[in-house]
């Protein structure tokens, strides 16, 4: 992988070059050598600054007063600066480091520099703002401030791959009225042109590496990922977490711009079985890597909402049906499990199903409700499903509240819910107790985390296997073009119903664990939107943010949406607001989500990548619903 022969873009890249549909040019005109020197100098200054004191009081989170070694947010700056420096050296051609930028573009360096700049400036500004004025900064803070700026400026002076200039007559419909003002249009065109371009990365094939080395890389990357994750969870203060997020998000973006991520993808694709095994092992290692029940609780919660989101992804991402009451199916599963859990508050308090039976019961009940809701509506126009599921999600809570023997038959114990749900015991292993495994201890939530991991793996398997099969293809076909799909012999109604019922069942399955983890089920959490997951809007957002139609997307989306508010407690009041705005922005600017599905990405950016061949328009058909109903 290191220094494999690179066809294009070597040392001789001129200051400005245009090839293919991208343009390579610096933003700041500087000789190449000067630009490189500036970048490296900036990195060195920044690194050095982290060993100095940035502020003189310990009031700022993480204690940045110590000279000699970095602490708190300084670590973020340090990691950012080292990464930028090392990657820059590789990009500049230093033998032995070249593998860090397989694509040989400077974009990665720029983004890493941006990460460093972001976290450093955030820290410095945060110190000044929190402690009240620039006076609180020690010289080290100023050095860091300048160093990061130098680093970023240096990176801007490197030749960067950018978007081609748009033709002069391009339309900017998003400008609206302002489209008439030429200055605005020019400015906007310049901005658009300034966008970095790294969609067509040409990287050397990582699969040529030695097989064992490939596997080693995979193990190391996963282990590093786990370490980074636990590090982030362990941050004590919102401030440090924000710095961490900046470095992580922009840094990963930078590494992917450099091509490393693509190579890693090649590796995991090439060693599918191995990498998924390592992935599972890493996930198992999570509760062992730290002895902290809070994180295990977090992990279990993330897995629950992630799994439910993945189930929703079958309905929304694969089949293209909008289910706005999905959380109700989770509720059906949870209530079913609670009823057969042996809780004294259950109407069948004597009955205690073994877990497998309870899980099946939960799935079954959710499936029945899925069919009951889906059957009347899935024959109709797609939009009707949205309103009916939304209504169902609302009345589920109301019905459950009413079934208390006062305003309805006694089933769910009404608003009090079913409390004191006993912990699960699987093969004599009581999940409520603390167990010792070797030198590790597994607390209650760690146990549930591991159980939930098994469920997640099952759901992932169901998702991937179903997606890549006759039924999965018919779901996607329905999503793509329902009329054509029915003309291919697909019974749209039946196939959609299967997807809907399967989605409901998977939510029900997760619900059974949810009931046991929280010890009680009550009606209140099953709402359309609320500040706390799981709620239908949260699940939908997790799917959308992560990437519709993908496996890892919803889980990642759920994790982000779950963990970030936990860490940024000062945001909590504005959480839902931010949530709404995020949905709008994602749909507008990155509808394919963080992890784009190859198909989706193309579909959403239709305007930008015109399909070859002019397809004549003209509709000659009406859809099946008209004739079929």
């Amino acid at each position: 992988m290191t220094d494999l022969p690179i066809a294009a873009a070597e040392e001789a890249v001129a200051a400005t070059a245009t090839h293919g549909n991208r343009r390579t040019a610096p933003f700041i005109p500087l000789p190449l050598t000067a630009a490189r020197a500036t970048t490296l100098a900036g990195a060195v200054i920044t690194i050095a600054s982290t060993f100095m004191s940035w502020t003189y009081t310990t009031d700022f989170p993480g204690d940045l007063t110590v000279s000699g070694y970095p602490g708190g947010l300084q670590i973020m700056t340090l990691i950012g600066a080292i990464l930028t420096g090392v990657v820059a050296l590789g990009t500049f051609g230093l033998t032995g480091l070249r593998w860090l930028t397989p694509s040989r573009t400077n974009n990665g360096v720029l983004l890493l520099a941006l990460a460093t700049l972001g976290t450093t400036w955030y820290t410095v500004i945060d110190i000044a703002a929190k402690l009240g004025g620039l006076a609180n900064l020690d010289p080290g803070g100023f050095v860091a401030f300048i160093g990061a700026l130098v680093l970023f400026a240096g990176a801007l002076a490197l030749p960067l791959d950018r978007h081609p200039e748009e033709p002069a007559d391009a339309e900017y419909y998003e400008l609206g009225r302002a489209e008439g003002i030429s200055a605005v249009v020019r400015g906007y065109a310049w901005l658009r042109e300034a966008r970095l371009h790294h969609s067509e990365l040409r990287v050397p094939d990582a699969r040529k590496l030695n097989r064992w080395l490939q596997r080693l890389v995979i193990v190391v990357v996963y282990a590093l990922g786990l370490k980074i994750l636990t590090f982030g969870l362990a941050t004590d203060y919102s401030d440090i977490f924000i710095g961490y997020l900046i470095v992580l998000a922009v840094g990963v973006w930078g590494l992917s711009a450099g091509g490393l991520l693509k190579q890693f993808q090649q590796l995991t694709q090439h060693n599918k079985k191995f990498s998924s095994t390592v992935g599972v092992l890493t996930a198992i290692a999570y509760p062992f890597a730290q002895n902290n029940e809070l994180w295990a609780n977090l992990g279990a919660s993330v897995l629950i909402v992630g799994t439910v989101a993945l189930g929703l992804n079958i309905v929304v991402g694969l089949t293209g049906l909008l289910d706005l009451g999905y959380v109700a199916f989770l509720g059906v599963g949870a209530y079913t499990a609670a009823l057969v859990s042996g809780s004294p508050f259950s109407i069948w308090s004597g009955t205690q199903f073994p877990f497998w039976a309870a899980a099946l019961a939960g799935m079954g009940a959710a499936c029945v409700f899925g069919v009951l809701i889906g059957a009347p509506t899935l024959r109709l126009r797609g939009d009707y499903l949205a309103i009916v599921t939304l209504g169902f999600g609302e009345i589920f809570r109301i019905i459950v509240r009413n079934l208390d023997g006062v305003s309805g038959p006694k089933v769910t114990n009404g608003p009090n819910g079913i409390a004191q749900i006993p912990d699960l015991s699987i093969f004599g292993y009581n999940l409520g107790d603390t167990h010792s495994v070797g030198s590790f201890t597994l607390g209650r939530f760690a146990n549930y985390y591991l159980l939930m991991l098994v469920i997640t793996i099952i759901v992932v398997l169901v998702f991937t296997r179903a997606a890549d099969s006759r039924i999965g293809r018919s779901w996607i076909a329905i999503r793509e073009d329902e009329t054509a799909a029915t003309a291919m012999g697909i019974n749209g109604f039946r196939v959609k119903l299967v997807a809907f019922a399967l989605g409901a069942s998977l939510a029900g399955l997760a619900g059974t664990v949810f009931a046991h983890v929280t010890n009680s089920v009550v009606p209140d959490p099953y709402v359309f939107s609320g500040s706390v997951p799981p709620n239908s809007a949260f699940l939908l957002a997790a799917v959308v943010l992560g990437g519709m139609g993908t496996v890892s997307g919803p889980i990642l989306g759920a994790a982000l949406l779950y963990v970030i508010p936990q860490k940024l407690s000062f945001l909590s009041q504005y959480e839902l607001f931010a949530f709404g705005i995020a949905l709008i922005l994602i749909m507008r600017f990155r509808p394919e989500g963080i992890i784009p599905n190859r198909r989706r990405q193309l579909e959403f950016h239709e305007d930008e990548t015109p399909a070859p061949g002019n397809r004549p328009m003209g509709d000659d058909t009406v859809p099946a619903t008209t004739a079929g109903a």
């Binding site: 290191t2 602490g71 708190g72 590093l224 809070l294 919660s301 109301i398 009090n416 983890v517 959480e575």
Partner: protein, 414 residues
């Protein structure tokens, strides 16, 4: 060769990252050490608070947080427990059980948290009880009213069993309030026929159920019952039903959000009968929104009127002067008392251990809290064998001239 350089670099990066993270924790440790040295020999003991601090219930939740805060400040100022500085760690449960549970886990996880006050909602408490029980950590709720939380599921039939030994509450259960209200309605107001409405929430449904039972047993007639959903605003159909039932009073189990609209629409339709409720509607907001329509409406609340207790007055003055957000009126006093109970128990435990905090302080605290006995700002504080408050002091308030006025104070001995 090239492969080797890759290997080396990867491992360098990995170890680099690991070392750095180690650095991170080291600097944090040193910070803690610094705190201790600067604070002399004082131990810091943290009291956790769990309540909804954001969202729709935040006003009440913040009242709990700052009620505890004032108790802690008082204790620190008076040096109630020598050698100990108390601190508050407040977590936001957003009125959601799962979040409450996460918060409980977080509080348990932190070694300097000794006990917790909260939560606001009974539904949230159910998910937290087990966590605190496993950790042998005291939890005192200032507001949970569901009797099953302390007395087990069969409390209504008289077979009471305590499910969790670490759970206490300074709020009285629905049972006392509902019975007291029914007693007042029949015997003092001489009401014959009541229409009972509730909002299908733990608190409201429980209260309405108990009122209904007592009212009937005292010889009153239940003219009708109905249930509403929280968030409903149109009660015209309900009002028509009430009007048609010819009831001479309405009992509403629930919060003021709905009851203020009910009473308004009721009076607008020309049905001039009083609406009575529990402490969930004993709030100035009720009067503000319902306006003239609220006149004559009644609410029960636990404890004696605050004006009669100097301690309570000081509490309210402090709350106001500090400019704390939230609503101290409903549960602030109980929160203060709950925190004080914990603080006093810490003192007991430390006194028994030679003035030092024992290593199993949390577990020892459970016994100490159980034996709590002092006069708080909302009445006498002590706990019975179920963890319920023994304070059965209740007051009936009536809206007179746009203000809640105490009309009867008494003890319910049901």
């Amino acid at each position: 060769m090239r492969h080797r350089s890759l290997l080396i670099l990867t491992s360098v990066l990995a170890t680099g990252a690991l070392t750095l993270t180690a650095c991170g924790s080291r600097s944090d440790d040193s910070k803690k050490g610094g705190d201790n040295s600067s604070g002399g020999s004082k131990t810091t003991v943290v009291i956790g608070v769990d309540a909804p601090l954001t969202g729709a219930n935040s006003a009440t939740g913040l009242g709990i947080q700052y009620g505890v805060q004032i108790a802690v400040d008082d204790a620190n100022a008076k040096n109630l427990v020598p050698g100990v500085t108390f601190k508050v760690k407040a977590l936001d449960d957003k009125a959601q059980p799962a979040t409450g549970q996460t918060n409980a886990t977080a509080l348990v996880q932190e070694s300097d948290v000794i006990a917790a006050v909260g939560p606001l909602n009974s539904g949230v408490a159910q998910s937290m009880q087990q966590v605190f029980e496993s950790a042998k950590m005291v939890e005192i709720s200032p507001s949970n009213t569901n009797p099953a939380l302390t007395q087990g599921k069969d409390w209504a039939t008289g077979t009471k069993t305590r499910p969790f030994t670490t759970y206490f509450r300074t709020a009285t259960t629905d049972a006392n309030q509902g019975n007291f209200a029914a007693d007042y309605a029949v015997n003092t107001l001489k009401k014959k026929s009541a229409f009972v409405v509730d909002d299908k929430q733990t608190y409201g449904a429980g209260l309405a159920g108990i009122f209904q039972g007592k009212f009937k047993s005292l010889g009153g007639k239940i003219a009708g019952t109905d249930h509403v959903n929280t968030g409903d605003t149109d009660f015209s159909a309900l009002v028509t039903k009430i009007k048609n039932s010819h009831a001479d009073m309405v009992y509403y189990g629930g919060q003021y959000d709905e009851s203020e609209l009910v009473t308004k629409q009721l009076k607008a339709a020309g049905v001039h009968i009083p609406l009575m409720g529990g402490d969930g509607m004993y709030s100035d907001t009720y009067i503000k929104t319902a306006g003239q329509a609220a006149e004559g409406d009644l609410a029960t609340s636990v404890g004696v009127p605050v004006e009669t207790l100097p301690a309570a007055k000081t509490f309210i003055d402090t709350y106001k002067s500090k400019g704390y957000p939230g609503d101290y009126g409903t549960y602030g006093g109980y929160s203060y008392d709950a925190a004080t109970a914990i603080i006093k128990a810490v003192k007991t435990v430390m006194d028994a251990n030679g003035g030092k905090l024992p290593s199993d302080a949390r577990a020892k605290l459970v016994d100490a809290v159980q034996k709590t006995d002092f006069d708080g700002i909302a009445g006498h504080v002590s706990f019975d064998q179920y963890g319920d408050t023994t304070n059965k002091q209740l007051t009936v308030y009536q809206v007179k001239g746009g203000k809640w006025t105490a009309v009867k104070t008494g003890v319910y001995n049901g």
